[in-house]
């Protein structure tokens, strides 16, 4: 078993899936010769050739639309969008076609496509290069949204996403790309979509997070009897894991870096309120970014949930 960062783990997942299944094809801007903005697809062009690792025109809607057509007719495209802020031109294709072809054809066609895109704060670049807009995609029936929090889970989740019959938006935190290294097995293993994992068991408060915020969350709970849940798949999300935990702890804090209003934490909070309210000992708290367009570095530091902010929310809920 090798120790590797998330970039290498994702690269390994792509490589192994392309070796296993000739229908898996990569396309996107600069994914071939350049290996992608973050070098996630590095070396794949050399190994699999131009037909399967395809540099495309700079046209997000065209990339995703083409990938949908490929997926409908027998291929398993993995499209890369360079940054999450660049995905909006393709939102039309994602929402209006990828999400709906299964429904339109009453289940006789599906779209086994993955759209990988780097998301979130991490490279000190404002706006489009640092967005965390997962909630938009979670709102659309027919789209799965997956956010890994570490190299091991990135590989296993990506393999599941590629094999899934439906479109998956796969969000890769730029902050995490090279931050953590951990043991990642070579060869096949999968992490199921739609399942959360308990990162740490605890009895007094449930802290739910995903992707980039998990590390800070783990730091923030030091000394607290907290149960930490890594959601991993946002749509469909693992309600059962959350309810079971909240029924035990009676307290819930949700941590994510997207703007607060209408973020996915709202959905989680509402679900807890609907189904586990009588178990609650205090209010559900959200620790999030602010309702602001992602700013430049100094303000970015203020924007991001810090361990202190997370801890403060946990303390407030505990002392309620």
């Amino acid at each position: 078993m090798a120790t590797m960062n998330m970039v290498h783990a994702i690269n390994l997942a792509l490589k192994e899936e392309m070796q296993r299944d000739k229908d898996v094809v990569i396309l996107g801007e600069d994914v071939g010769r350049d290996g992608g903005v973050f070098r996630v697809t590095e070396g794949l062009l050399e190994q699999f050739g131009e037909a399967r690792v395809m540099d495309t025109p700079l046209a997000e809607s065209g990339i995703v639309g083409t990938a949908i057509g490929m997926a409908v007719y027998g291929l398993k495209p993995v499209a890369e969008i360079q940054f999450m802020g660049f995905i909006y031109p393709a939102a039309d294709q994602i929402f209006n076609h990828a999400a709906r072809i299964r429904s339109r054809s009453r289940g006789r066609y599906s779209v086994p496509m993955v759209i990988r895109t780097p998301y979130g704060v991490g490279i000190r670049s404002p706006e489009h290069h640092s967005e965390s807009s997962e909630a938009h995609f979670c709102h659309m029936p027919g789209i799965k949204v997956v956010v890994p929090s570490s190299p091991y889970y990135a590989k296993g989740l990506l393999i599941s996403a590629i094999r899934d019959p439906d479109p998956v938006i796969f969000l890769e935190s730029t902050r995490l790309y090279r931050m953590i290294k951990e043991d990642v097995p070579e060869g096949e293993y999968t992490v199921p979509l739609g399942k959360a994992r308990i990162v740490q068991e605890g009895g007094q408060v449930t802290v739910i997070s995903w992707g980039s915020m998990l590390q800070k969350t783990i730091k923030a709970i030091e000394g607290v009897d907290a149960e930490v849940i890594d959601l991993m798949t946002l749509n469909p999300f693992d309600e059962e894991a959350i309810f079971n935990s909240v029924k035990k702890t009676g307290r819930a804090v949700v941590v994510y870096e997207a703007p607060k209003t209408g973020g996915f934490g709202a959905e989680i909070s509402a679900s807890i309120a609907e189904d586990a309210m009588l178990y609650l000992k205090g209010p559900i708290k959200r620790v999030t970014g602010y309702d602001a367009v992602l700013p430049l570095p100094k303000l970015e530091d203020y924007y991001m949930p810090s361990t202190e902010r997370i801890r403060k929310a946990i303390d407030e809920v505990m002392q309620y």
């Binding site: 094809v25 037909a51 495309t56 025109p57 046209a59 809607s61 065209g62 995703v64 639309g65 083409t66 990938a67 949908i68 057509g69 490929m70 997926a71 409908v72 007719y73 027998g74 291929l75 495209p77 031109p89 039309d92 294709q93 209006n96 076609h97 709906r100 072809i101 299964r102 429904s103 339109r104 054809s105 009453r106 289940g107 006789r108 066609y109 029936p141 027919g142």
Partner: protein, 322 residues
């Protein structure tokens, strides 16, 4: 006019055009019953394009279409019954009564589901073409769209990529001069849409879309080019929408179109022109045409009965197929 088509091939073309026309005329007559509770975008007056293009496609070839898709789907070989049932929102509809007129789908005939997003399906056709090449199939992928789609970015992105990769795609623009109610002259510089192909090194040609034999000929060349690895073609067929953008009625009295244009186009009825040709130049008898007419009407009768008798989908189906 060309005369190298067999009498049978000519009669088949006629039968497809007549089926489209009569089916939509039936929609017009049934719509006031208010049982078809979905918007309908009719292609009456534009039948020659669907018939002439799809004549060159096999069951396995792909078509991608728009909100105005009845003609394309019928010409591609779709049975009328699931179309009628779909318009009635019934469970035997091709989309189990969840898609309606704008979202017809039929995997058995290479129709993955039409959509009302103008220009939206064009890149999907490119992807299907790419898939055909990568999987070693000789399938051709056809994107039908209107002149409105040539306003959209996806049109240009798709031409660019299809040309770059020399994909087996035929871009079929049905230029009926109107995007909803905006004339093309208010939306685009005054050049034929087919000429936009030149910017992407794609051969483009503008053809009278009401003359089914000219459509047939242009499409034949384009489909052959695609199938033999010669890359995409942009076909622009000029035509005219007889009905309003949406619904069974005419919009002529609404003042969106110049006076006299409608009358001029009625004289260029694709069906009447072809019928005259068949009678006068192709030795098809009036009796033969009548037999086709009787058969078409019977098929439509049966489809309507089938649609009306099909049950509504069960509430339990609401969250299926997501």
């Amino acid at each position: 006019m060309r005369n190298d088509l067999s009498k049978d091939a000519l009669k088949r073309l006629y039968a497809v055009m007549l089926t489209i026309r009569r089916f939509e005329e039936r929609v017009v007559s049934l719509y006031p019953e208010q049982e078809m509770k979905c918007p309908v975008h009719l292609c009456i007056g534009q039948e020659a394009i669907a018939a002439g293009v799809c004549a060159h496609l096999g069951t396995e070839d792909y078509i991608f279409s728009t909100h105005r898709s009845h003609g394309h789907c019928i010409a591609k070989g779709m049975d009328l019954k699931p179309i009628a049932a779909e318009l009635y929102g019934r469970s035997d509809g091709c989309s189990r009564g969840r898609g309606g007129s704008m979202h017809l789908a039929d995997p058995e005939h290479g129709i993955p589901g039409t959509s009302a997003i103008v220009g939206g399906c064009i890149p999907l056709a490119v992807g299907a073409g790419l898939s055909s090449v990568m999987q070693g199939h000789a399938r051709v992928s056809v994107a039908f769209f209107g002149d409105g789609a040539a306003d959209e970015g996806t049109f240009h992105e798709s031409l660019n990529f299809a040309s770059l990769k020399k994909l087996p795609v035929v871009f079929v623009c049905e230029d009926n001069y109107y995007a909803t109610n905006s004339p093309r002259s208010a939306r685009q510089p005054d050049i034929p849409i087919a000429e936009k192909g030149r910017g992407y090194a794609i051969p483009g040609i503008t053809v009278d879309g009401n003359d089914v034999l000219l459509v047939h000929q242009a499409a034949e060349e384009a489909v052959m080019r695609a199938r033999s690895g010669g890359g995409p073609t942009l076909l622009e067929f000029t035509t005219y929408r007889w009905k309003a953008h949406v619904g069974p009625n005419s919009d002529i009295d609404e003042g969106c179109r110049p006076a006299g244009a409608h009358e001029r186009w009625l004289k260029k009825c694709p069906l009447e022109m072809f019928q005259r040709y068949l009678l006068e130049h192709a030795a098809v008898s009036a009796e033969e045409l009548e037999r086709i007419s009787v058969r078409v009407d019977r098929e439509i009768d049966e489809a309507v009965v089938f649609g009306k008798n099909s049950p509504y989908p069960d509430a339990s189906e609401l969250t299926e197929y997501v």
